[in-house]
Symmetry: none
Subunit: 223 residues, 2 copies
């Protein structure tokens, strides 16, 4: 019948103890703090602090600091987090690398030289090709769903009820094989530019590696 003293923690090596202290006053009254004590009596107040000591000898990725138990489901969240961080860093990395490679120039050229396919027609009184192009472009950056157009019959019957602001005001259109072929041509152009950029990047990374040596560097801490 221990109340709240230091209790042996089965999930950790023999001799490690856990203590939970309830806060008595203030804005956080009623909340609690959890501490761990090593066999030698050293106090640990957080999981990172604990991991700096035990992380080398055991896996704490699934250890829940608050409960003191291993949580099988929690390990996956940690790994996912690491993957996400890697992806995030990769994204930032490439954003940096590609800066100044005239991506915006390329897309502007594409817009200027863009011919509207015959299958893509505007709707309503004031529809010009320009307005339509703007409408589609606007829809493209306004939402992330596919641009499909709106079905004309529905709009004509009851515009007030049926108008869908997430779609440009134009007839539903079909993308023909010819349209795709033309677009693929344009993509080839841009891809070539990207390839040049990547080649330059790989060369510069090779140079970096030669200078810096291997990746697993021990930054060494503590006595």
């Amino acid at each position: 019948m221990e109340r709240q003293g230091r209790m042996e923690c089965p999930a950790l090596p023999p001799g490690w103890k856990k203590e939970e202290v309830i806060r008595k006053s203030g804005l956080s009254a009623g909340k609690s703090d959890v501490y761990y004590f090593s066999p030698s009596g050293k106090k640990f107040r957080s999981k990172p602090q604990l991991a700096r000591y035990l992380g080398n000898s055991m896996d704490l990725s699934s250890f829940d600091f608050r409960t003191g138990k291993m949580m099988p489901g929690k390990a996956q969240k940690n790994k996912q987090r690491l993957r996400n961080e890697a992806l995030q860093q990769a994204k930032l990395f490439w954003e940096k690398r590609l800066q100044g490679l005239s991506a915006s120039d390329v897309s502007e050229q594409i817009l200027r030289s863009m011919e509207l396919p015959k299958g893509l027609q505007g709707l309503g009184p004031g529809s010009s090709a320009d307005a339509l192009l703007s409408a589609v472009a606007s829809a493209l950056h306004t939402s992330s769903v596919p641009i499909t157009g709106q079905v004309s019959a529905a709009v004509e019957k009851n515009p007030a009820v049926w108008l869908n602001t997430a779609q440009p005001l134009c007839k539903a259109f079909v993308v023909t094989d010819e349209d795709i072929r033309k677009q693929e041509e344009r993509v080839q152009q841009v891809r070539k530019k990207l390839e040049e950029a990547l080649t330059a990047d790989i060369l510069s990374r090779a140079a970096d590696t030669e200078r810096d040596g291997d990746m697993d560097v021990d930054h060494g801490e503590e006595a």
Copy 2:
């Protein structure tokens, strides 16, 4: 030339300040948090929290927490939100009311008698009309975006890269006026059934009202 510190917020009463802090690490690195500070220095971390203090003395319905400015258009979004909630409740209400009125029978009949329009063709080796119908139905309840099909040329060139699980595996299709006319005929049928159901419902409600008295009944409790 303030940098990023606490800046006076003109849209709020004098003395209120706003600060935006960029997250520096973790999986949400790069995102930002917006805080407000009352003249006395109390920190507010969300619009609901802010509204609990200022909502009594001023109207925050058009106040945009992230930008700190009044957004004339945003008030409408609030009203739209209320309307949507009302609609959602109405939907639940009618789902309740219509239970047991053979709604599922009706939809099954529709499915059984449904002919696929000529413009809607399946793709790939094992595509039967049944499988296609299942695919479309599945897509309809799997996501809320418009069902457009996937462009055939793209799929044939590189299925592994381009397969879009949010769209049924069928050629992009066109809805013709004839298709719409046929569908409207079917809708008329269902609508008639619904009308019968509603009539029965209204009658039963009228009977309820006669028994229970008016709607704003004080159920009177306590002493």
